[in-house]
């Protein structure tokens, strides 16, 4: 609620809060956590948000307030670290393990990110350069990873969109 319409387009916004007080900005990913909370890839805000089972929306990770000129989108960036300091660039796909670890397909950083249960963001695969390279985590390259899902064994399947591929990441955290 409270979104502004400009040029016949409903612009997204950014606000944490209870229920309809919260705002999102072209969210594109959704995952259910082990305790019933919903994790949301809030793409246009370059953030990962959480909707609790009580209806409260908070920001789990992502920072940045500079807007792309003449848009409602926040500029992307790249930074690992505490959730409140971490930067994403078009986070789109999101998944949550049974242990509560959140995985993010960070599309325009061309990499996969992890948010641990302490809220710390790290990069788990992809060196930031777009390409298609299999190998060890630091060697792997993606081109616009867009969706991510763990399989039964905890390994990760990734839609590598601009490579027109499904990639498989052996992952034993």
């Amino acid at each position: 609620m409270g979104y502004e319409t400009k040029d016949n387009w409903l612009n997204g916004g950014y606000a944490d809060g209870q229920g309809v007080k919260a705002q999102f900005n072209e969210p594109s990913g959704l995952a259910l956590g082990p305790n019933g909370e919903l994790y949301i890839a809030d793409t246009g805000n370059r953030r990962i948000r959480v909707l609790s089972s009580q209806g409260e929306v908070t920001t789990l990770a992502g920072f940045g307030t500079t807007m792309i000129d003449n848009t409602s989108y926040i500029k992307g960036g790249f930074k690992d670290g505490l959730g409140s300091e971490a930067r994403f660039n078009f986070p789109s796909g999101i998944a949550v393990s049974a242990a509560g670890t959140v995985y993010v397909a960070d599309t325009y950083n061309h990499c996969l990110r992890e948010i641990n249960t302490e809220g710390v963001v790290t990069t788990i695969a992809g060196n930031g350069v777009h390409g298609k390279q299999n190998g060890f985590l630091e060697q792997a390259q993606f081109d616009g990873p867009f969706a991510i899902i763990p399989n039964r064994d905890g390994n990760l399947l990734i839609i590598d969109q601009l490579n027109n591929s499904v990639r498989f990441l052996e992952w034993h955290p």
């Binding site: 387009w9 793409t43 792309i68 000129d69 848009t71 660039n89 078009f90 325009y108 601009l162």
Partner: protein
């Protein structure tokens, strides 16, 4: 043995061409990336930062990683880099800014389905042309360690 022009064309079209040329720069500082639109003519549209909304493109717009640039049948536009490099996007084209890390990108190439990649001072910037055409003009090359890489993809048959 390639017996005629068609064979030659087919042969060339199915080979991944990699051309690497070595030029000059070293010690070039990695400044903030700056690529702006100029000479926008006709219908040209821009999706910003990977977002869904398409905006009319205008001269002076600064491009960011994740932008998608589209020209209609009547549209053309130039991408102007700070170092004087220009890339002209032809009509009916679709181009994605995949990576933008320095301001001194040297784009090269291409025609349909070309990936334009360049490096400078250890950084990489690149755009990918999904359809249409782009022409690049290199205005300034700084020193011999500059590298320009051009990759042409074969057309789907």
């Amino acid at each position: 043995m390639l017996s005629n022009e068609k064979d030659l064309s087919c042969f060339v079209g199915n080979i991944l061409i990699f051309i690497q040329m070595f030029f000059v720069p070293k010690g070039v500082s990695a400044a903030q990336p700056t690529v702006k639109l100029s000479s926008v003519k006709g219908d040209v549209f821009l999706k910003r930062g990977g977002g869904l909304r398409e905006f009319p493109a205008t001269d002076g717009m600064e491009l960011v990683q994740g932008d998608w640039l589209r020209t209609a049948k009547t549209g053309t536009a130039k991408l102007s880099y700070e170092d004087g490099t220009e890339a002209t996007l032809g009509s009916s084209s679709y181009l994605n800014i995949q990576r933008l890390t320095t301001n001194d990108t040297v784009g090269v190439s291409a025609h349909r389905q070309a990936r334009v990649t360049s490096w400078n001072d250890g950084h990489q910037s690149s755009v990918e042309l999904w359809s249409g055409s782009v022409w690049n003009k290199v205005e300034s090359l700084v020193n011999v360690d500059d590298r320009i890489s051009m990759k042409l993809r074969p057309q789907p048959q």
